[in-house]
Symmetry: C2
């Protein structure tokens, strides 16, 4: 049985076999397991930290095909996706298998676009938002930007992992994924991979929390 | 004989032996060889593209020991080093084996600090500066910043390689290594290496010129 709840899960362990055996402590011992919702921030960036070319939000004009395929796969595998209203306004997002959470100071503006269980618009803080979804059995929440939303999650130490694609480019001007406030966040590299001839690097970092 | 001149070198090839043999075309053939001066831009950056923490130029307060050792080694191996006056003003730079070129709009301000062949202060453009040194037999010019100098070299397509260390950190605010103008530079990853447990990445990129 795979349980995706963040509530404590109670298992009665009897004589295990196969994959269960390695987890077995002893016959009849009760083990409490928690499933934590992992919050992932995902971006593609240049070497000078730009996530837009000169402010143009259309990332697909310069990101590599390898990154676009990677992002599409992650998008498709994610049930719960969080974005800012500016990101929502500039794209079209298939929501067949997803639950989109759009963070906005004016949820009433989007009243006619909401679809219960599919798309919602909220002015909740990042902390309140994540608290609400932690109790709903999600394994993962994908935060896809933009910078204002990313920074508000980073500031509150809510991000568990940063999945950053580094394109071998320099733009000089444009948006950064963290913006406007002093942060001092340490991370640890958990994965890195060169995915094409130009040297696009797909990386994953765990945020080290204070 | 190893010739480090950027002027054409004329060699008379006779019957070669040992290491020369593989380069031998034929007895009596004259080969012209050019030695190109490679211009390298070197920086250490956070994942959000910051080269200073909140504007403080003291990089050693947050860069890893591995990057500091690496930078020291490269510094020691470099004969010709270029920096802006702000970078010069904030540090002390041993110049026993180096020739420091400090770019400034006011070379006269530094008149009493110049040491012929060791430290010079110039208001030349990056193009004029590199042209002057290309003819002096240097194999390499190391550009160590700051952002204004880096950007002026990048804008003129003078940088051959970017040697970028990526520290697993996010600062939110601070300086970027390219700044203030729109650039559209493509590069190719030629080296990358994880150098410690936290996942500091030392990378080298070749600039693809138009």
């Amino acid at each position: 049985m795979v349980c995706k709840s963040s509530y404590p899960r109670i298992e009665k362990k009897n004589k295990g076999s196969g994959r269960q055996r390695s987890n077995q402590i002893g016959a009849g011992i009760i083990i409490l397991k928690y499933t934590k919702m992992k919050i992932i921030l995902i971006f593609v960036s240049t070497l000078d930290g730009k996530i837009t070319r000169w402010g143009d939000p259309e990332v697909r004009l310069w990101s590599s095909h390898q990154d676009q395929d990677y992002y599409k796969k992650i998008w498709n595998e994610s049930r719960l996706i969080v974005m800012g209203s500016k990101t929502f306004d500039t794209g079209s997002f298939p929501s067949v298998n997803h639950q989109l959470i759009v963070m906005t100071g004016h949820p009433d503006k989007y009243e006619n676009l909401k679809i219960p269980g599919k798309i919602e618009f909220t002015s909740e803080s990042p902390a309140k938002l994540t608290d609400r979804f932690k109790g709903m059995g999600h394994e993962q929440m994908l935060v896809v930007g933009g910078p204002h939303v990313a920074t508000s999650f980073l500031k509150e130490q809510l991000i568990d992992e940063l999945w950053l694609t580094l394109e071998p480019k320099i733009f000089g001007t444009g948006d950064n994924f963290a913006t406007g406030i002093k942060l001092d966040i340490n991370l640890r590299l958990i994965h890195f991979e060169k995915v094409n001839k130009q040297g696009t690097l797909i990386t994953k970092y765990a945020v080290l929390k204070n």
